[in-house]
């Protein structure tokens, strides 16, 4: 007599959804664990990676040993002090410098030997001994590279000043595109979005669903008219919105607080984030329907969600440097595709050659994970 039955049923379905979504939202706000996952963990990560982690070595400790000081050695050491890369300490003997290296007080030693000043003028030139601390291979490499730069600058200066010798015959002109100041924050902070969304998406969803089983409330829900699909969507929408809110907050922080350039378009970022979020939610849902226990769900999500997103995604570590089997695993990690998109959208712009294939991969992963989760959630308790 009023609405046709099909429309009536649809309306009832929408009302059920609205009720479920409101309930989830209230629960997230009232539960300390969800607060930790949704707000504290992201803040901690942003703090750690925004402020603490920087891959750019500045002020590397270097022990400069000058066995017989002359004007030449002074001009060389002046380049160390002025380079900005180093915090040099000066020694007149090798022994204490090497001891400092052993204790980890400096990252490397540069030795200008007794014969250095005379050898400069001789055929074959003078040898500058450089010792890097190899215990941290990355810093060791950077150290050697920086010493190389200082040395080249010094040679060029000498050549110009007519002090003899030539500058380097071949001049390498390095250009680093998208990030000319080589700020590691510029790629760490956008990448962090993927990590934070993995946490809000997968971990929070996993705990929210597992909690219904843990506390037995699922039984009450299943006994009502709500359909499984509605119950799942009711769970996903609030976390989805929370995750997207996280994207917005993080993007704002990245651009305004950490000064990361944003060269792509907002809509591309939003679209890719939505796809990734869907994949993360699907993973959380899948884990929790299988685990049915908050503790196990939490642990599994950290193991198969957070850790791989952290390690196998090009976020901090260099995926291309890993062995083939590790790279093979990484193809199953959604964060890998999302981080590729993030770095491009922030630092390079809307490069469709990067965005399209990676989005396609994200879409496929989201579809598979969500479909699996839906298929495995049963109407019955067994």
């Amino acid at each position: 007599m009023t609405a046709p039955p099909a429309r009536e049923a649809r309306l009832a379905g929408l009302r059920r959804l609205r009720g479920l979504m409101r309930k989830e939202a209230v629960q997230i706000v009232r539960d300390p664990s969800s607060i930790i996952i949704a707000f504290v963990l992201p803040a901690l990560l942003l703090f750690l990676f925004g402020f603490a982690v920087t891959l750019d070595a500045r002020n590397l400790g270097v022990a400069v040993v000058v066995e017989s000081p002359t004007e030449e050695t002074a001009s060389f050491t002046a380049f160390f002090q002025g380079s900005g890369y180093f915090a040099p300490r000066f020694y007149t003997e090798r022994k204490p410098a090497e001891a400092a290296l052993l204790r980890g007080e400096v990252q490397g030693v540069v030795v200008l030997a007794q014969a250095f000043p005379e050898a400069l003028a001789r055929e074959g030139g003078a040898a500058i001994q450089v010792i890097a601390d190899g215990t941290d291979a990355n810093t060791g490499n950077l150290f050697l590279g920086y010493v190389n730069n200082v040395w080249r600058d010094w040679l060029a200066y000498r050549a110009l000043a007519g002090a003899g010798g030539a500058a380097e015959p071949v001049r390498a002109e390095p250009r680093i595109w998208f990030n000319p100041e080589v700020e590691s924050h510029h790629f760490l902070v956008p990448g962090l979005l993927a990590i934070i969304m993995t946490i809000t998406g997968a971990l929070l969803t996993a705990l929210l669903v597992a909690r219904e089983y843990d506390r037995g409330t699922i039984e009450g829900l299943l006994a009502t008219r709500a359909r499984i699909g509605e119950i799942l969507i009711g769970k996903l929408v609030p976390t989805f919105l929370l995750g997207m809110g996280g994207v917005a907050v993080n993007t704002a922080m990245a651009v305004w607080l950490f000064g990361v350039p944003f060269r792509g378009s907002f809509w591309v970022l939003a679209g890719a984030s939505a796809l990734f979020m869907a994949a993360a939610l699907g993973m959380g849902l899948l884990i929790s329907t299988l685990a049915k226990n908050q503790f196990v769900a939490g642990q599994v999500t950290i193991m198969v969600g957070f850790m791989p997103a952290f390690l196998l995604s090009d976020f901090v570590f260099n995926l291309a440097g890993t062995p083939g089997w590790v790279q093979a695993i990484s193809y199953a990690i959604a964060a890998r595709y999302f981080i590729a998109i993030l770095k491009t959208v922030f630092l390079a712009g809307d490069v469709w050659a990067v965005i399209l294939p990676n989005s396609l991969a994200l879409f496929a992963m989201a579809a598979v994970l969500l479909a699996l989760a839906r298929a495995l959630t049963r109407r019955r308790l067994e």
């Binding site: 603490a52 982690v53 750019d56 500045r58 030139g125 040679l155 030539a166 500058a167």
Partner: protein, 365 residues
């Protein structure tokens, strides 16, 4: 008193070994971590995708290009013919580095003018870009010195001590040891009390004559023993499977390990005395472990961090243990240097265990 503690320790061992979840934390997780982490946590670059734009007609240009393509570090993926092709190559990430040899390259080299070579790197991962450019710079530098008309007045003779190849595996593994044993002991202690609270046995413990100190000791000793055992297995695996050198004295390593474990156990117990459920304990342990690892100097040197964060790291036990672990494995760190790192850990352990015991008495009410 000791009789009661012994009973508690025995029970704790049995409970950990018989519980499926704890067994997984103890037996599966560490070896998964030991198997994957060292390979995943690398900054090394190999197989860099290289695009070459050689506008030089001379032999020198070709020779320089062949120097690049001959190393395993670079993998030539494209040969460009015009500079307009550079941008799309980099943008689409088909190439990570473009080597651009200009038209005047051979001529300049012959006349003694400085011959420019452009190297364009993708800065979306600045760390990789830097390392790539450093490699490229070395190749160009070596090439230049060979073609120099006048000898250079000074040359660098560089080498790396302790890890001559600067292989990332050797510098990662001592950190992996620290991560695995801290994750295992922190989570085990964090879960153990929370589980007792969840199941209700905690109340039961409190009405026995056990004192809070005894409960802390009873919870600490098994975790310490498990951590020590696990560390021994991992050290053996590092040396035997990963062929890691162990140049220092193992005894000194075992000055650091127990103190590091105790500091982590204290943290785990603190988490445990605050958490009401195992799920909260899991999150609490995670909230502690994440900064512990990241602010330890494992991934990035502490010296690079802002001063105020460097100050913060003084309460991080892993910061000290990492120095000992790397030092003993690679450097033969002298005993006094080990002690200098050991006492702050002892202090942290004492502090965290005391706070745990205190918190734990307070949470009864």
């Amino acid at each position: 008193m000791w009789r009661r503690i012994v009973a508690l320790v025995v029970k704790e061992f049995l409970a950990v070994l018989k519980d499926r979840k704890s067994r997984a934390v103890l037996l599966v997780l560490p070896f998964l971590q030991l198997g994957v982490f060292p390979f995943a946590t690398t900054f090394e670059v190999t197989g860099i995708r290289l695009a070459v734009l050689n506008e030089d007609a001379g032999a020198e240009g070709r020779e320089l290009v062949s120097r690049f393509t001959a190393t395993p570090t670079f993998r030539a993926v494209a040969t460009l013919t015009h500079s307009s092709e550079i941008a799309p190559m980099i943008d689409s990430r088909r190439a990570e580095l473009v080597l651009h040899v200009g038209k005047t390259f051979s001529r300049a080299l012959k006349t003694g003018a400085s011959a420019p070579v452009q190297l364009i790197a993708d800065g979306r991962n600045s760390n990789t870009a830097l390392i790539t450019l450093a490699y490229a710079g070395e190749i160009v530098g070596a090439f230049g010195r060979e073609h120099a008309r006048a000898p250079l007045p000074a040359a660098l003779v560089d080498r790396a001590w302790f890890n001559p190849n600067l292989g990332s595996l050797w510098s990662i593994l001592p950190g992996i040891l620290a991560i695995i044993i801290s994750v295992a002991t922190t989570s085990i202690t964090a879960f153990s009390l929370a589980r007792e609270k969840e199941v209700g046995t905690f109340q039961q413990l409190l009405v026995t004559p056990l004192r809070p100190v005894e409960i802390v000791i009873g919870k600490t000793l098994p975790a310490l023993a498990i951590g020590l055992g696990e560390s021994a297995v991992i050290v053996a695996a590092m040396v035997l499977l990963y062929r890691m050198p162990l140049v220092g004295r193992v005894g000194l390593l075992y000055v650091g390990i127990p103190l590091f474990l105790l500091a982590n156990i204290g943290m785990g117990l603190m988490v445990s005395s605050v958490a009401r459920t195992q799920q909260q304990a899991l999150l609490g342990a995670f909230l502690f472990l994440l900064p512990e690892v990241i602010l330890s100097g494992f991934a990035t040197p502490i010296g690079n961090m802002p001063d105020w964060i460097q100050t913060l790291t003084y309460v991080n036990p892993m910061r000290y243990f990492l120095v000992i672990s790397q030092g003993v494995f690679l450097k033969d760190l002298p005993a006094d240097a080990v002690l200098a790192q050991a006492w702050p850990m002892a202090l942290i352990a004492l502090g965290s265990l005391t706070v745990a015991g205190w918190l734990f008495r307070r949470r009864l009410y």
